[in-house]
Subunit: 338 residues, 2 copies
DNA sequence: TTAATCCTCCAAAACGTTTCGGATATGATT
DNA sequence: AATCATATCCGAAACGTTTTGGAGGATTAA
């Protein structure tokens, strides 16, 4: 609890000198600097960051605003892995990290600007918000530097980082086409997610390139939920028995799809090939293990932080980053024998 | 960026009055209070928490110090789920949460006290540190309120929350005994974890109660790692072929054990029964799905936060909390037919 | 010798709040 | 009329830093 004043008194110098000594300014004699450092250590002095930030108007703090930091997130670990990336990068660059989690209830109490202003974060990373979230509009208007994860929007103060979802989806579906599948269904997420739109486009593009006519009724909405995906898959497979392969917009939904198929007595992958998206932990452990498109969530967080700090430090440069996916072949896909 | 001064000026009152009006003091006329509130909203004023904390010497902030916020943590999600619990409870009680992650490199630069003092957290929750961690000693000496997760140590300013590991382990092993198993091996974690010691005791106690002599060579160390557990299990099963059941101190290690057993051609659960500990997501998806002892990691975080804030607000009461486990029967255990 | 330069150091202001100890006015009580 | 209580407001200090603009002395240059 020693303050700079205590150090100054004990060292017989002014507060100014202590401050400048400890902060490495050149206008202080090396001998006194050493003495001051000594005394500071002796008194276990460490500067009060509140006071410092107050006067410097810099907090060296970034916020990670996540909508829905919930236990269900354990299944895909998206938030956790993004958090790891953000944390690592922030740590490397000397930024503090405060975690801000909202839900619709909290959002009614405080506007985005209030939230951010109060916490005194210099910039913020947004994860998990939907495209129809009221905060999104505020973000774009506000001049607080912000990086969006998986929402491709830009302005003077906002950038984004995302995965090449379209390309990833395309390679998933191309893989199925190459295995000889003609009737390929898609279990998509929900329409309030950009990634869903993009993955749908990738799906359609792949079909088109191989000259397969796409059928609207082959695409259903699984809301990124395992259960919803299961019921939707069951319905789809019943109504469209000619389908021999499925592309799921998330691994979690693929888990639901697998369960639905198994319940209907379909052998996997002989009767039905399934490709997921994400490469979550589960996908390697399920039976059959899941062929999928891996996206690097850790890197998503890491790059977001890099972009944000670049903005904060005035480094002009691209405010967006699109990461590549990698295709992972496992057991859930095989040649079409029908 | 409006300050309290701006509001005061516009309202034609003093700074003091604005402060007292907004903070609900009674010595301000209701009419002026309303006017001030109006103007505050108009100017989008929100108080600078830095300044406030500086003068009040209260930050309403707690820290979650985790050692090893790493991507590998995705597999068991321990940290994530604890975080969710901490976050929810902190949110409910109006505390901010800052995430502090350390590793041995960082620990050399800053002592625990420095870390905590600088960040101006009022209290802190420690997760994931080992019993031989140098920070632990500091924590006990320091008078900053602290709750340890899974380390049963207490002092004036520190408490803990943990799971009843001994009882959990005991019920796991008792389950195996009841299935007729006589030779039960254990894949434990590492000795720098209290939970390992406790789970070992539970294992031994269960055996003793049923009058089964415990055999030291039946217990090996899997370091809480999947791979290590796999190799250790392979060795154990080879050297002690009479073993028909395994109790693993974590589900993740059980995954390794399952793999080892499968590679040796053992049928599960017919040839070998396995019980895990934790109830991680994977345990429900593996083949066979894993019988396990569930611990509520979310609740661990939630209760830790409750204990901490109780301490911060001067509510005297117990500084410790031990949560119960629940037994979950799945496919990986069956009767002993040997 | 004088002027200029450099090296060390410092006093005071500033950051945006809260709070303590009054101040003023009004009305009630004696 | 004097005293007291109450309601409403405010000035100034305090929190612990950094930074600005200079002061004083020693050294160097002219």
């Amino acid at each position: 609890m020693a303050t700079i004043r205590d150090v100054a008194k004990k060292a017989g110098v002014s507060v100014t000198t202590v401050s400048r000594a400890l902060n490495g300014y050149s206008d202080v004699n090396e001998k006194t600097r050493e003495r001051i450092k000594e005394i500071a250590k002796e008194l276990k002095y460490s500067p009060n960051l509140l006071a410092r930030s107050l006067v410097m108007k810099k907090t060296k703090t970034i916020g990670l605003l996540v909508s829905g930091l919930r236990i269900e997130g354990s299944k895909d670990n998206f938030t956790y892995e993004v958090l790891c990336g953000v944390n690592d990068c922030a740590g490397e660059l000397g930024y503090e990290l405060v975690l801000i989690s909202t839900d619709s209830k909290k959002q009614q109490e405080k506007t985005y600007n209030q939230l951010v202003q109060e916490r005194k974060v210099e910039g913020i990373i947004l994860q998990g918000i939907k495209t129809d979230d009221p905060y999104l509009e505020e973000v774009l208007k506000s001049d607080i530097p912000c990086i969006l994860i998986d929402i491709p929007m830009e302005s003077d103060s906002v950038g984004y980082v995302t995965t090449d979802n379209r390309d990833g989806a395309k390679s998933a579906v191309t893989h199925l086409l190459n295995l000889g599948h003609k009737h390929i269904g898609m279990i998509n997420g929900h329409s309030q997610a950009f990634v869903s739109q993009e993955r749908l486009e990738g799906y359609q593009e792949a079909l088109q390139e191989k000259g397969v006519v796409s059928n609207e009724s082959y695409v259903v909405d699984g809301a990124f939920l395992e259960e919803k995906a299961e019921t939707e898959t069951a319905k789809l497979l019943q109504e469209r028995p000619e389908i021999t392969a499925l592309f799921c917009a998330s691994d979690l939904m693929a888990m639901g799809a697998i369960r639905a198929a198994k319940k209907m007595g379909r052998k996997l992958p002989e009767d039905l090939s399934i490709v997921g998206f994400d490469n979550i932990i589960l996908s390697a452990y399920s039976t059959p293990s899941l062929t999928t498109i891996a996206q690097d969530r850790y890197q998503l967080g890491f790059e977001a932080t890099k972009l944000l700090t670049d903005m904060l430090e005035g480094n002009k440069g691209s405010k967006r980053k699109v990461l590549n996916t990698t295709f992972i072949k496992r057991e859930s896909t095989s040649e079409n024998h029908n």
